[in-house]
Symmetry: C2
Subunit: 506 residues, 2 copies
């Protein structure tokens, strides 16, 4: 039987689903940023109903064989380049989603929504026992999800694959161990350095409304279009996108520490630029979707660290910051400022971690969540194990759960398998930035002039605009000419910290 329906029919089904996902994203954003607290139960139900409808529409994509027909055309090489991406990626998600019963998807969405509210309270009260029964539910649900999806070696494989397609527990462990093996000796050398950096010098009193304006200014300099996006305040900084013309970022603020929000803002704006850089024309199809969480994170980390913690960036922005907040910045030298913002300091909170210890935070989470999912660790033991690992890897005694296992929102959202992608992001970022410097030799000079838009355009052309045209592996190959290689990240750290801490070269 000949194919009678065009690819436009498939696209329009995908676009409808994308609009429903946009609605979910608006409700999710509102929940974090504005919703009054008594609204949480009903909001969870609303989200569950919407998720159920989306799931139903997605599994029905192929009810008349439309998707299967195109899959056959894909396999027999009959599709053009764009349609190939649309069909291949839709088929991949379809195969995964089809395995999840609608009732399961509704249940997960409802539980996760309520769990987030409980988590926020537990975190505020530093009381893991409040959150424990909800984390139990979440882990049970994620184990069920892994069973539905199927896996070869570890149920964790089925979960991480949702965020970083093709990744496994074993491969993640290898990469993270490699990283650890390069970070530990570096950290040891830094600890022995005679250079002592005094971060207290940057403390002060910074009214949040004034900080907010400065954060907005930085985001706009990076190229964030505030006619097609917003910057708001929430408990946990995040970025979400309804479509390339409506992207929402949030930051959290500390009145005593202006850098607390700035790092988050630059990070989330990196994500937001990826979302705004995608094709509005192809909205709803894989051609307007991000490659993977690791690639997404590479965008935020490159801006946050390689650019936002560079000498050149602050050569331009420190005088501006100093104008807004003369106390204390007028009396801080550029060298001192640069050293302080890059200071290595093993601490409790992942989102405040320096570039050297950051990945150790990820390893703690990765090991715990993998063990939870593989049934090797009981939920009730999470605080104990968390605290032990923090002692072993960082030498730190965690004082309470707010600064320990309750600090991140991810588990309450059901995001098991998400954390390792943060580390992958660091590796991709270093490799991309290395390539950018090769192609744009004056990039550091531009940064020093506050001229950031060329970077934004380079990232858009090389990465954002393609959507899922390339897999993560293929994209790295396409952009940099070689496969992912952790040496770029190691070299970057080595060079930066050798200078700051006056380390002996190997």
């Amino acid at each position: 039987m000949p194919q009678t329906k065009s690819i436009d029919e498939l696209r329009s089904r995908l676009v409808e689903i994308a609009h429903l996902n946009s609605a979910v994203a608006v409700l999710g954003w509102d929940q974090e940023v504005h919703m009054p607290k008594k609204g949480s139960d009903k909001r969870a139900e609303t989200l569950a109903h919407l998720s159920g409808i989306i799931h139903h529409k997605f599994v029905s994509l192929d009810s008349d064989g439309l998707l299967s027909d195109f899959k056959k055309q894909l396999d027999s090489n009959e599709l053009n380049e764009e349609d190939r991406v649309v069909v291949a990626e839709t088929w991949r998600s379809f195969q995964r989603m089809k395995k999840l019963p609608e009732s399961f998807v509704r249940e997960l969405s409802e539980i996760a929504s309520k769990a987030q509210t409980v988590w926020a309270e537990a975190r505020q009260k530093s009381d893991f026992s409040l959150f424990e029964p909800w984390l139990e539910k979440i882990i049970d649900l994620k184990k069920r999800e892994a069973k539905y999806v199927g896996y070869k070696h570890s149920p964790y494989d089925a979960l991480i694959d949702a965020y970083e397609p093709g990744m496994t527990a074993k491969e993640a462990e290898r990469i993270l161990t490699d990283l650890k093996n390069s970070l530990v000796p570096l950290l040891e050398k830094i600890k022995k350095s005679k250079v002592k950096i005094k971060p207290e010098k940057l403390k002060g009193n910074f009214p949040i409304s004034k900080q907010f304006e400065f954060n907005k200014y930085i985001a706009e300099k990076m190229g964030y279009d505030l006619d097609a996006g917003r910057l708001d305040i929430s408990t946990h900084p995040f970025n979400t996108s309804f479509n390339p013309h409506d992207v929402r970022s949030t930051t959290r603020y500390d009145e005593k520490n202006v850098l607390y929000a700035l790092g988050s803002t630059i990070h989330e704006t990196g994500h937001a630029l990826y979302e705004q850089g995608m094709s509005a024309e192809h909205f709803g199809t894989p051609l307007s979707e991000s490659v993977s969480l690791g690639i997404h994170e590479s965008q935020s980390r490159m801006w946050e660290n390689m650019i936002g913690k560079s000498r050149e960036f602050w050569q331009y922005f420190l005088p501006k910051l100093s104008k807004e907040f003369p106390k204390p910045f007028a009396k801080i030298s550029p060298d001192e400022f640069y050293a302080i913002i890059n200071r290595v300091n093993p601490s409790f909170i992942r989102t405040e971690a320096d570039e050297v210890t950051y990945n150790l935070h990820i390893i703690v989470r990765f090991e715990i969540e993998r063990d939870l999912v593989e049934g090797k660790l009981a939920v009730k033991d999470v605080p104990k194990v968390w605290n032990k690992k923090m002692k072993d890897y960082f030498g730190l005694a965690v004082p309470n759960d707010t600064k320990g296992c309750l600090q991140d929102v991810h588990w309450s959202m059901g995001g098991l398998g998400y954390f390792p992608t943060y580390s992958f992001g660091n590796l991709y970022a270093a490799q991309f930035f290395h390539q950018l410097e090769k192609e744009m030799p004056d990039v550091r000079k531009r940064i020093a002039k506050g001229d950031l838009l060329p970077i934004r355009h380079w990232l858009k052309d090389k990465i954002h605009i393609h959507g899922k045209k390339y897999t993560a592996g293929a994209l790295v190959q396409e952009v940099t000419g070689e496969a992912l290689n952790s040496k770029y990240f190691s070299n970057y750290l080595e060079k930066k910290y050798t200078e700051i801490y006056e380390l002996k070269k190997d």
Copy 2:
């Protein structure tokens, strides 16, 4: 064949639809309060998709005959009191909605969403020609809607019935003419009064953030639960509800005039209390829906005018206002303040109108929209006709369209037939308040002590909690013991203004 499915099945279908309507309301609220401007096209599409799904689910309510079966049970008196309301009201909306094709509903939703964005720009630029083609589209769509729904005498009947069930163009004209006949002589007397009120005395400089806190304080004193609702800022004040635990109100502010926002806030909080007063248990069914727009408006108008513009209200709140803004309020006497906030002053803007001229504004809009729908008036002539009526009824020369036919959002939303319900609200409000005074003889003393919660409870018990248990007519009968009678409103105005303007009694 016996009925096998329970009423719970019908309820759960209605609840699912209600959750989708909640999602639409969240997106609508976000659109007015937060959405960046480039987001409007895609938002319109998202809303159109959601509306289409809702319409489809609603028309499918009876695809297995479930609703028809219950309709038969209703007709043969087999249902209990609550189920009777659920089935009767669902059947009524079902009959109306069923007549509208899904494609039409999608189109209307999409056009209305875009028209709102254009209207906001046209209003800002005071340029009707920008909005004209969109109003054309809206009128055409509403004419089509009337044809789909059907009507006896005027297509306007089919439209007004959606907001005030059972109302017709003819009946609305009769009521509004009656009103006019009592207002005109009163206004004439007021114009001849020697009492001259000087509103300039209340002008000053009132930072919006400080005003905002005072507005929130008033709303909370009225009983608005800010753990189950919000108060925000938008171009046009409005109230929307996602469910009784998540209600959103907005106000607009003027830095020079503190009363500009206060009136709106009290008004919108009146609406918000109705929404919070409904049954969360029955969410999604007609037992948790408002009776009609007229009844809804009676709640806002009673708070705004009968209570919020009473001597007693300001006996309590003027000292508080004066504490926040000593300049100018410390030097204003209670009598003077009371006279100024009730000053009769024919003006251009409906939402700023006094109680005597307010209904004349409604008559202008009612006549124009009815004539547009009946094909007796061309869209391009709207500004001309508007301005002529303002001259004839108010003696005012409209200086521009911002102060004229572009001032209200309603037409851009497709809300033809909505305006007259504002006047019905005034009549209901006066009759309810008269009853409240009978049942709670010390109510004015309580108001004078800032003790407003008993009023909130009375309204909740008598009106809010019943949802659609009674029709508007039956509710008025139930609460006040007689049918709607405009004499309560006329007497209320007569008494109030005879005193303020020292008029001779008839």
